[in-house]
């Protein structure tokens, strides 16, 4: 692994490898810091996480816009006897998830105080960042599996070590659920590599395997199902979502934020990268089922969220609804729906991440998350309420904020190929308004109890921590073009790959390539 630092081509700096290595180095440095200086842990960790974040921004800046393929690729021989390489690369689909991972971790490290054992807490968060980078960047199936599974350990430790009362149950459930999903994926990974090999050398290279398409239809479908199971659990889609409310509710704030913003995306990203790309025919075959499950998720998540008594649990169920939208977008197979799906991954990361952060701040103030015990916070903490409002509106999908752009693209794109699914999913937008506004009303409006009156307002530090989220939410709502123009070539490439390897043809619609402000303002639900 040491020689990985050395680039395969001396001319270009292997920035993607550095992305993965910097947080690992940071974790080691944090571990070696003296125990007598607990106050150093988080700042040092945040520095390393920020370096990684800066590198991810560098990747974004250097990313060439109109290229569909993988950029910054770096290949190192890893286990040659098994045909396994360390192969990383980034395209328009993974780029923004990498940036999101790069930015969320330092923010979380700065924002959330673990209250005890800062050293392991910081180290685990850094390892989580490294693993997430690795999973989004991996272009080798083996490497992806390693990263996909290794991120479980830090999250498990974070939930178990710093979570709430029922953390032991929640952490174990989270770990076993995800591991059960990925168990069969490993068998499928080996099968795909072995069966695609033919007379050639065995390879786990995703690009190579996607080009070969050597599997018979039935085998490809079975392998797709094994992959899909792993990702569907991670997303999560109803009915395999039950780990998520527990994990989110019991996780410490940092865990919830990273889980929602980054780790859930591994599921939808996996569906795109390894489902659609590796198994185009099987994806088209399974699309009606998965789109249906996505829509069920939208409605179910929204309805159950309405009934929640715990604010954090409510946000967790809203996550299920939002992720359902993304799944619908992915399996509608149009340029807009896929673009919307990818964009919605980022949007969900911003809005739900920020919601969890604010619920965490509220818990720090009031030591409760029960909606019925909170009332009239707005009068005691107006700035806090204002930030919460913006983020909540973004989550609802109000025009002018980021959530709207993503949902709108998903809906308009899916309407062409999955009309009735889209009609039902659109009602989910209304339900989102229902449960979030109702919760807001109960918590922030009304007569404050004596306890609520003493709720301190947002501090400057908390405001600064939330500011990047607000900026992102507003910016993407008004001007999503920088993201979309990088996402679109990759998405188009994926769709033409689908058309090439299956009988699916994208319906020809003269839809706008990029949604700009004029579209945002002229439409409403």
């Amino acid at each position: 692994m040491i020689q990985l630092v050395a680039a395969q081509s001396a001319s270009s700096f292997p920035v993607l490898n550095a992305l993965i290595i910097v947080p690992i180095v940071g974790a080691l440095v944090v571990v070696l810091l003296p125990n007598s200086r607990p106050e150093l842990m988080r700042p040092v960790g945040a520095i390393f996480a920020s370096i990684a974040g800066a590198l991810s921004l560098y990747v974004m800046a250097q990313f060439s816009i109109h290229e569909a393929g993988f950029q910054f690729q770096s290949v190192q021989s890893w286990i040659p006897n098994l045909g396994i390489n360390w192969h990383v690369g980034v395209d328009g689909i993974s780029l923004w998830l990498v940036v999101l991972t790069g930015l969320i971790t330092p923010i979380v490290l700065i924002a959330v105080d673990p209250h005890h054992d800062p050293k392991p807490y910081t180290a685990w968060l850094l390892l989580l960042q490294a693993g997430s980078f690795g999973a989004f960047l991996a272009l080798d199936l083996f490497l992806f599996f390693v990263m996909f599974e290794i991120v479980l350990v830090p999250m498990y430790m974070l939930i178990g070590g710093w979570g709430y009362d029922d953390r032991r149950y929640a952490a174990t459930k989270f770990f076993l659920y995800t591991m059960a999903g990925s168990a069969l994926m490993l068998v499928a990974i080996v099968s795909v590599a072995t069966l695609s090999a033919g007379n050639q050398d065995i390879t786990f290279n995703v690009i190579e395997l996607a080009q070969r398409q050597a599997l018979s239809t039935n085998t490809a479908r079975l392998c797709f199902l094994a992959f899909a199971l792993a990702f569907v659990i991670k997303v999560p889609i109803v009915p395999v979502h039950t780990w998520l409310p527990d994990a989110h509710t019991q996780a410490p704030t940092a865990g919830s934020v990273v889980l929602a913003a980054v780790m859930l995306k591994l599921g939808t990203y996996g569906l795109l990268r390894f489902g659609l790309y590796l198994f185009p025919e099987a994806s088209v075959w399974a699309a009606p089922t998965l789109a249906t499950l996505g829509v069920i998720g939208v409605i179910y998540g929204a309805i159950v969220a309405t009934m929640q008594k715990d604010l954090k649990r409510l946000v967790a169920y809203s996550s299920i609804a939002h992720m359902g939208f993304i799944v619908l977008g992915i399996f509608a197979f149009t340029t807009q729906s896929l673009e919307g799906g990818v964009l919605q991954m980022i949007n969900h990361g911003l809005s739900t991440g920020a919601l969890f952060l604010m619920v965490g701040m509220l818990y720090e103030r009031r030591k409760t998350r029960a909606i019925e015990e909170l009332s009239g916070i707005q009068s005691a903490a107006p700035v806090f309420a204002g930030f919460f409002t913006v983020i909540m509106l973004s989550s609802i999908g109000v025009p002018g904020l980021n959530g709207f752009v993503g949902e709108f693209l998903v809906l308009i794109g899916s309407y062409e190929t999955r009309r009735w699914w889209t009609v039902i999913a659109a009602t989910g937008v209304i339900l989102a308004a229902l449960y979030l506004l109702w919760a807001y009303q109960r918590v922030f409006h009304g007569e404050p109890t004596p306890d609520d009156e003493q709720t301190p307002d947002l501090t400057l530090k908390e405001g600064l921590v939330l500011a990047p989220f607000i900026v992102g939410i507003v910016f993407l709502g008004l001007y999503p073009k920088p993201l979309l123009e990088r996402i679109e070539p990759a998405v188009d490439g994926l769709i033409s790959h689908l058309e090439q390897h299956s009988d699916y043809v994208q319906p020809d619609v003269g839809a706008p390539v990029v949604v700009d402000e004029s579209h945002v303002s002229e439409d409403d639900h």
């Binding site: 006897n81 390693v146 290794i150 076993l176 068998v187």
Partner: protein, 496 residues
């Protein structure tokens, strides 16, 4: 016999150089016993441990030399083709020597603490190690049986040496009775093999089976079945695992580690040599049986492990399920499967030695309730994280050697088109993971603050744990050299 002429020697040729590792171990055992008889006050635990370690190191150096010889000049055999000198035997020799060194280091603290006479223990350990090497190298079923008995008899006594604990004696009796029982199966199998093929020499058996087509192969089938049953007892494969939890629980922790690692590895060495190498032409007969055995073992190991509350019993069932994984690799009946099995055994041995090092150091009175581990993450963070790594490795989480080992087993099964077994193996890994997570959770998530006996650890124990954890992570990140090592060690039977 052809062996008599091949090198131009008169009389059975003995390649003393190749036998040197075992001879050194037995010599060290004799030295320890002699010195302890002549100068009892001089034979301290330190002296005995150092002697054992020195013999292990010397033997390993010779084994490395032998490995290079075999790689350049090809495998050979000695003593009238009864003893194989090939990559396979040297692979296991090295593994056994590593296990010997680790067990010697672990017992150092234990023997002092429990007041057990160190010379006898170490002499038995050395004999047991020599037996294991003979078993892994044997090219003849009779020699294999001798090795097995030398290995087992040493273990019977080592378990019982803790004479103040009735559990240890119970455990020894149980292991002895069932061990004798399984030896009987094995012997019967050897006898029937002789009846079916006219020889106990594995090369003869293979050559005979290659050319002869039986009209009625009941005798051979019975022989294979009995050999399989006998060895399944030794490797603790279900449904022949019933002794394992009780014996593991009652035995002194260093001996448990030795049984779980080396006794199992030697058993699998014999299994692979007999079935993969000698009965290669009849793999359609034995591979499905091994597959069924693997499935039963995986399921029982995983399911029973999560029902236990005693850590040693948990690890006993986990060792059963690991046997299941190796059986999946054996089931593939291919060179790839065999090298996967070798890789698995190597990494598993090191993991399990490290695990029992921790278990032995925490369960100072040989009581191992799960609650003993409560709060370890806070009170001993370094130890806890090391133990966590070893447990995760056993669960097959990436970036540990356990994952690479599991991956190769799955790859071998998939290449053999045993998709169902591969899938089942992965699913039982998830069930089994619950048990490891339970131990980890107890270490890190505990509400009650218990009073802790802050005993300082002997450095030998720490050394074993650190080495095991380091190796586990190293192989998890750069497994290439061990994969090559295992691939070069796939057995080739040779006459000479």
């Amino acid at each position: 016999m052809g062996a008599l002429q091949i090198l131009g020697f008169v009389g059975p040729s003995v390649n003393w150089w190749a036998l040197l590792p075992q001879i050194i171990l037995l010599g060290a055992a004799l030295v320890i016993l002699l010195v302890s008889a002549l100068a009892p006050q001089r034979t301290t635990t330190a002296f005995v441990t150092v002697t054992t370690l020195c013999s292990a190191v010397t033997s390993s150096i010779i084994a490395i030399g032998l490995w290079n010889d075999v790689q350049t000049e090809g495998p050979s055999s000695s003593i009238a083709s009864a003893f194989g000198i090939d990559g396979f035997s040297i692979f296991f020799t090295m593994l056994i020597l590593i296990g010997l060194a680790a067990t010697a280091l672990l017992s150092h603290d234990y023997l002092d603490r429990e007041g057990i006479d160190p010379p006898e223990f170490h002499a038995l350990l050395l004999c047991s190690a020599a037996g294991a090497i003979v078993m892994a190298s044997a090219n003849d079923l009779i020699v294999m049986f001798l090795g097995l008995e030398a290995l087992s008899i040493g273990i019977y006594v080592m378990i019982a040496m803790h004479h103040r604990r009735s559990e240890a004696r119970e455990s020894a009796i149980k292991y002895f009775v069932l061990g004798a029982f399984s030896s009987a199966f094995l012997l019967y199998g050897i006898a029937l093999t002789y009846g079916a093929t006219g020889s106990t020499n594995l090369v003869h058996v293979r050559n005979y089976l290659d050319v002869v087509v039986f009209r009625d192969q009941h005798l051979l089938m019975a022989a294979m079945a009995l050999l399989l049953v006998g060895l399944s007892f030794k490797v603790a494969a279900a449904p022949f695992h019933f002794w394992a939890p009780d014996v593991y629980q009652g035995a002194p922790s260093p001996v448990t580690g030795w049984m779980a690692s080396i006794a199992k590895a030697a058993g699998f060495a014999a299994l692979l040599r007999i079935f993969f190498a000698a009965f290669a032409s009849h793999d359609v007969d034995w591979a499905p049986v091994v597959g069924v055995l693997a499935l039963i073992t995986l399921v029982i190991g995983a399911v029973m492990a999560i029902l236990q509350t005693d850590v040693k019993r948990m690890l006993a069932f986990s060792s059963v399920s690991h046997a299941g994984y190796v059986l999946v690799a054996v089931h593939a009946a291919s060179a790839e499967g065999t090298s996967a099995a070798l890789f698995y055994l190597f990494t598993y041995t090191i993991m399990v030695l490290g695990t029992f090092a921790v278990v032995g150091a925490i369960g100072t009175d040989d009581e191992h309730p799960l609650s003993r581990y409560a709060g370890l993450g806070r009170s001993r963070p370094v130890l806890a994280i090391g133990f966590t790594v070893l447990l995760f490795a056993q669960a097959g989480i990436p970036v540990t050697s356990g994952f690479i080992a599991k991956f190769q087993v799955i790859a071998a099964a998939v290449n053999n088109e045993s998709y169902f077994i591969a899938g089942a193996a992965m699913m039982t890994a998830v069930i089994g993971a619950f048990m490891y997570l339970r131990i980890v959770m107890v270490m890190y998530v505990t509400d009650e603050e218990k009073e802790r006996t802050s005993r300082t650890w002997h450095w030998t124990t720490s050394a074993v744990v650190i080495a095991a954890v380091g190796f586990t992570i190293l192989i998890g990140v750069v497994p290439q050299f061990l994969i090559e090592f295992a691939e070069d060690a796939v057995p080739i039977l040779i006459r000479g």
